[in-house]
Point group: C2
Chain length 203, copies 2
Amino acid sequence: MVNYPKGVHHRSQAANTLSSGKKSLKGLTFGRRGMGLEGEINQANEFYLANHLAVVHKKPTPVTIVGVDYPARSAAKITEAYFQQPSTTDYNGVYQGRYIDFDAKETKNKTSFPMKNFHAHQVKHLADVLSQGGIGFVIVKFTVLDESYLYPASKLIRTWQAHDGHGSIKYQDLVANSYAIPDSLSPSLDYLKALDLLLADIH
Amino acid sequence: MVNYPKGVHHRSQAANTLSSGKKSLKGLTFGRRGMGLEGEINQANEFYLANHLAVVHKKPTPVTIVGVDYPARSAAKITEAYFQQPSTTDYNGVYQGRYIDFDAKETKNKTSFPMKNFHAHQVKHLADVLSQGGIGFVIVKFTVLDESYLYPASKLIRTWQAHDGHGSIKYQDLVANSYAIPDSLSPSLDYLKALDLLLADIH
């Protein structure tokens, strides 16, 4: 196995934070697996920000705050709140002057991707983004296959409408209409590589 | 006073939701005042979205969730959480293909705008946005004067650095370096009008 001094350190930190606490001698591979798709995207976004390649942030989880305590000499404590349905996607930002907007979905399925992973309001939001000239997509990861794809919003919207939000996309159809995110070390999910291919195709 | 059938209804609803419950016979003016700057921006964003002019959303308030209860047959209830310092600005989105990113600040001061309203991480974020070719700005409202301005991030960053984050910008200096947001009915804060002037100047 090759020794990757830079990658290992970064990923190990993330794995420590995000994994379930298990240990593995195959640090590199485990580190990435332990992160989950969201962890991989966050790591990529940190890398892009630090290297002035893109500015992309995950939006905070929306919550409805019902009760707050203000203890003396301490920070305000939220004592009652509920999770809200997000009205948009989880990630947006700017890449070379362009607005980009996407969500991330993973599945253990190996042969298809269930449409129920996409909510109507997210599909509508991506359609709004496209109509304003923004770049919309979904990062889909088949976790068992360890394959990730950038699936353009234009394809998702048409497929979702054709299926009326039900059923699933066959693996082959998704792959044929997507841009594979190549294996990479730092960041492990270098999705800008796939985005460059999408941008080249739409111009 | 002119009768504005469309505007009154929309703004009155918002005032009912957002004001402190006081009533006024001057519905139109009070309606807007009762909304506060955040309410005005949310109303403008809803108007822009419904009319396909721009897609801009406020980001959720970031909270660190510590405790969650999962009662049987009910929604998950967050029982302990704390407010986080936001790492970015409050609003971003896409306007005619361009990435826009901004924060909103109001002051009761009539002669200057205190620099302490801008946090270092927000100024850094706006600088990151500009370096990626995004459009960054701050909407500043002098509430007593009832005047709102679109203050470009490039000016804010230079002024903030010159003041080392302290002191304040004189009202005249801010106005001279900003684009006035004109009075409008629906939405009350039609900030895209000022943004068009900024975009015309930087091209």
